[in-house]
Amino acid sequence: MTAPISISQNSAITIDDLSMQYGDATVLDSVSCNIPAGQWVSIVGPSGCGKSTLLRCVAGLTDPTTGTVQLEGEQPAFVFQDPTLLPWRSAAGNIQLPLELEKQSTESRSDRVLQVAQLVGLEAADIDKYPRELSGGMRMRVSIARALVMNPNALLLDEPFAALDEILRQQLNQELLHIWQTQQMTILFVTHNVAEAVYLSQRVIVLNANGTVGGDVAIDLPADRVPAIRNTPAFFEKTAAVTRILQEGL
């Protein structure tokens, strides 16, 4: 049984009239949306529509051409499409990197690393391994653990499971849902997989090919997401609604 999800009406992330241009090409065009604290919002759209750019703007990694991003609280954590691990560090060394940068004590770092490693399903034996010794799924778990180690209020995920096989992807989806439910954080999740977005989220924002917002679909499926939901008429209905908006925006 999962914990009840609390969603504040306060916006954790406010994106206001955000546009991004590279030369003559418009990647994002007047994107505005509010992400309430504690909500899981997914962004879907065709390749090249600016999903990742939007996430990078929210993280502060890219400055938008116009528009603003307001964050409530601390800097959100980010999980890249690639695990982005330091290859010369063990899994534990990678997970504790943000704590090292904050100059936290070795003892508190070790305790916290073990906590988050357990949270993402890493075995004790795995955390001493180097990234090259871990499978793709394990590497992504380390990457998620590193993002969680600072106990962030918000988590930005840029297609983290794109390179994984379907079985592993669904398994990690389930584990991430569990983490979200227990940690009560805001999640902004970029994916090109509509079914994944609908299954995980409470809202799906669809970006059109021209970088505008095509739609914002509320996903009012039961809060306790279990794989069986994927076979319900409500799930098919929401998936069809998001797909329709995607096709209209091509």
Binding site: Q75, A77, F78, D82, T84, L86, L97
Partner: protein, 260 residues
């Protein structure tokens, strides 16, 4: 997948060498080639045995000069690499001259170095440093600059200070590049030391293999010339192998890059 080196990797070259020596010795017996032109392997071996102490001492001196110059090249090369990676102005301004320095033959620069530093060990070490500097500078600069942009994004997200980015990302990333540069340089150090001793190793107490090469060629002691050449090559191979073994042992965690 790694495979263990086959015994044939060692066996074939040794067999080939023994055959070559046997042919050489036989040719000497048949044609009675003058010692001054081509001494037989037996003659080289006998003469070398008689002067084994001198030759080993010279080998040790050459090795010391090579190691001293190599250490200096590592320190200076790494410092310059750090400077070139940190400063675009320094890189654009000075880097072309590093390439220029590399293209000038060392025998052309050596007399100038001897004028500045005098005959003897100091000049020899400087010549070794100059000849082995370039691979280290270029490799360290490349290693410090060719960091995965995702890792730099990560450090930006965590608001890492420039020194944290340097020591936690850029420097560890540059280590395998430094090792590659060191491997290339390690072979060049013996070349530099022998050239240095050839030109600046006279009139001093510590005479290395370069000096022996010079003197034996002047005195037509071809056996000693052969022995000195052989020992120089052996020293070069030992130097490269030692750097390779040490780097592999120390940098186990970087194996992913060393294997690429």
């Amino acid at each position: 997948m790694k495979t263990k080196p086959s015994i044939s990797v060692v066996l074939y070259p040794i067999t080939f060498l023994l055959l070559l020596l046997a042919l050489w010795q036989t040719a000497d017996w048949i044609w009675k080639i003058p010692r001054i032109i081509l001494p037989s392997p037996w003659e080289i071996g006998t003469e070398s045995f008689h002067r084994i102490n001198d030759l080993l001492s010279a080998t040790l001196i050459t090795a010391q000069a090579a190691l001293a110059g190599f250490t200096l090249a590592l320190v200076i090369g790494t410092t310059l690499g750090l400077l070139f990676s940190a400063s675009k102005i320094a890189r654009l301004g000075a880097y072309p001259y590093m390439i220029f320095l590399q293209t000038v033959p060392i025998v052309a620069i050596a007399p100038l170095i001897i004028i500045w530093f005098g005959g003897g060990m100091a000049s020899i070490v400087v010549i070794v440093t100059v000849i082995s500097l370039f691979p280290i500078v270029t490799n360290v600069t490349t290693g410090l600059r060719s960091v995965d942009t995702g890792l730099l994004d990560l450090m930006t997200l965590y608001q890492a200070a420039p020194h944290q980015i340097l020591f936690k990302v850029r420097w560890p990333n540059a280590i395998p590049y430094l090792v590659t540069g060191a491997k290339i340089s390690s072979g060049l150090t013996i070349v530099g030391a022998v050239i240095g001793e050839y030109m600046a190793g006279h009139g001093i107490d510590e005479q290395g293999l370069g000096y022996y090469i010079f003197m034996s060629s002047q005195n037509f002691q071809t056996e000693i010339l052969f022995a000195s050449i052989f020992l120089s090559s052996l020293l070069g191979v030992t130097m490269v192998t030692a750097v390779a073994v040490i780097s592999r042992f120390l940098l186990n965690r970087w194996t992913f890059q060393l294997e690429q």
